[in-house]
């Protein structure tokens, strides 16, 4: 191959200020983790509410929740991000639109929101699936004790549902980390964006992409490790979530 390898490139100064290429990539990684982390909080919060709503006895509530899920999961993330950034502010009242545009960290805020909403739809699917995987009798047993519907969800159904869907949620965490790279399209300086600009500035494309690949693998491995620890911590003696047969493994 007609290619000049230069692994020392990482220690050369990057032209966009702020230290070496290595430093740049690291700062990209923190942006990736930060974006993914914040978006995950949103996704978990909204996803749980919407997921519960999907299983609610109230038909119209369940329908609304389903509509929410369908809306957010049927449009490619890339397109959603673009719409959030360029179209939503124009559709809002001018003052709100200007406020959105004037946010100091607009790409970060937009990416977090967009990624959060997108992932919340997928989390909602998992949460609903987890609740539905529990025997119908569990809901009945809670209600028969005199617990209200809300208390039954809070104390009986959700704790079990979350244990069952932990593997699926781990996949979603891995996915949100990887998906945060779409932020680059609106100028979020996360890992992939940093990698690309490094390859553009230096033309050492392969070194840049190797580094990014290695960082992504490491981050995923750590995420997997943490989730395994969590799974161990919350394991229920005598109960195996595998029996629920629900480690649905879709998504990216």
């Amino acid at each position: 191959m007609n290619y000049q390898w230069n692994w020392m490139i990482f220690w050369e100064e990057a032209p966009d200020g702020g230290g070496t290429y290595f430093d740049t990539l690291m700062s990209g990684m923190w942006f990736t983790l930060g974006t993914a982390g914040l978006a995950w909080l949103i996704a978990l919060l909204i996803g749980t509410c919407v997921g519960v709503a999907r299983t609610a006895p109230n038909k119209s509530l369940a329908k609304t929740a389903t509509a929410y899920v369908e809306l957010f999961r049927n449009i490619p993330l890339l397109v959603q991000l673009f719409l959030w950034y360029f179209v939503v502010p124009e559709l809002l009242p001018t003052a709100w639109g200007d406020w959105m545009k004037g946010l100091p960290n607009a790409p970060l805020v937009t990416s977090v929101l967009c990624l959060g909403f997108f992932t919340s739809a997928r989390v909602a699917i998992q949460v609903a699936a987890g609740i539905n995987a529990l025997p119908r009798g569990q809901m009945m047993a809670g209600t028969a004790l005199g617990l209200t519907t809300w208390q039954t969800y809070r104390y009986v159904l959700l704790p079990m549902a979350f244990r069952i869907i932990t593997p699926a949620l781990t996949n979603e965490v891995a996915a949100i980390i990887k998906n945060s790279s779409v932020g680059l399209t609106i100028g979020l300086l996360e890992l992939t964006a940093r990698t690309r600009s490094m390859s553009e500035f230096s033309f050492q494309t392969f070194e840049a992409f190797s580094a990014a690949t290695a960082i992504y693998i490491a981050v995923s491995a750590i995420a997997l490790l943490i989730s395994n620890l969590l799974e161990k911590k919350f394991v229920i003696p005598g109960f195996s979530a595998k029996n629920a047969g629900l480690a649905k493994a879709g998504g990216h």
Partner: protein, 229 residues
């Protein structure tokens, strides 16, 4: 507010659909079909009791699942010519077009995800079913072929199709190779004519309609093929 220029869509719909959408659908179907077949093989490997068979499969799957698709597309695009040369023994890298490269990449990548779905599906079939197959005198292959896989496949059909919808959306990432899929076609027109907002809204609507329609179809189909219990 924008003044929407809908004319740009009318001008280019042929390119958008006959070139772009046609490619997107083609790649989606080839990758889904290939991915499911390869994924099923990987799933059976992962479930094998022999470590030498299970370990490489699970390594492969976990590796694929931890790298963003964008990077995978990139790597395969540049490395496939060398893998090809290595396999055929040629001294020049084999020229692999962007399309074949995409097909190979998506099949290999999606197989990792389909593998996990099929693995879940196979594991969910009760051990009793396998025992019943064996007890009848069926071999491992026959039990898999006639008893386990048909059931796993039908049970997992909704998830497989949901994953296919994800795949359908992910095809848009081939823009890194400058291939003209639907999103690529639309954004090329958008950039050339400076009509980004109109185009992106249009893409959103088209995707929503197609994906939503598809997922409705999945529901109908599921009722048809699902096993009477």
């Amino acid at each position: 507010m924008f003044d929407f220029d809908t004319d740009v869509i009318a001008r280019s719909w042929e390119y958008l659909f006959l070139t772009g959408m046609a490619f997107t659908l083609k790649l989606t179907f080839i990758a889904a079909a290939g991915g499911i077949v390869l994924g099923t093989v990987l799933a059976m490997m992962r479930l094998s009791s022999k470590k030498i068979i299970a370990l490489p499969a699970s390594l492969y799957v976990n590796l694929m699942r931890s790298i963003p698709l964008l990077l995978v597309i990139f790597w395969f695009y540049f490395l496939v010519p060398y893998i090809g040369a290595w396999m055929t023994g040629a001294d020049e890298p084999v020229q692999v077009g962007a399309l074949s490269s995409c097909v190979i990449t998506f099949i290999l990548f999606e197989a990792a995800y389909f593998c996990e779905i099929m693995r879940g599906g196979i594991q969910a079939i009760s051990r009793g079913q396998v025992a019943a197959g064996y007890a009848m005198g069926m071999t491992y292959g026959q039990t898999m072929r006639h008893v386990v896989l048909p059931q796993a496949f039908r049970n997992m059909l909704p998830v497989l199709l949901t994953q296919t919808i994800v795949l359908f959306q992910d095809v848009s990432l081939v823009y890194v190779l400058s291939i003209t899929d639907f999103v690529g076609a639309a954004s090329k027109v958008a950039q050339r004519d400076g009509r980004l907002v109109e185009m992106y809204l249009f893409i959103a609507v088209v995707y929503f309609v197609m994906c939503f329609g598809l997922s409705r179809l999945v529901g109908v189909l599921q009722k048809k093929v699902s096993i009477v219990r």
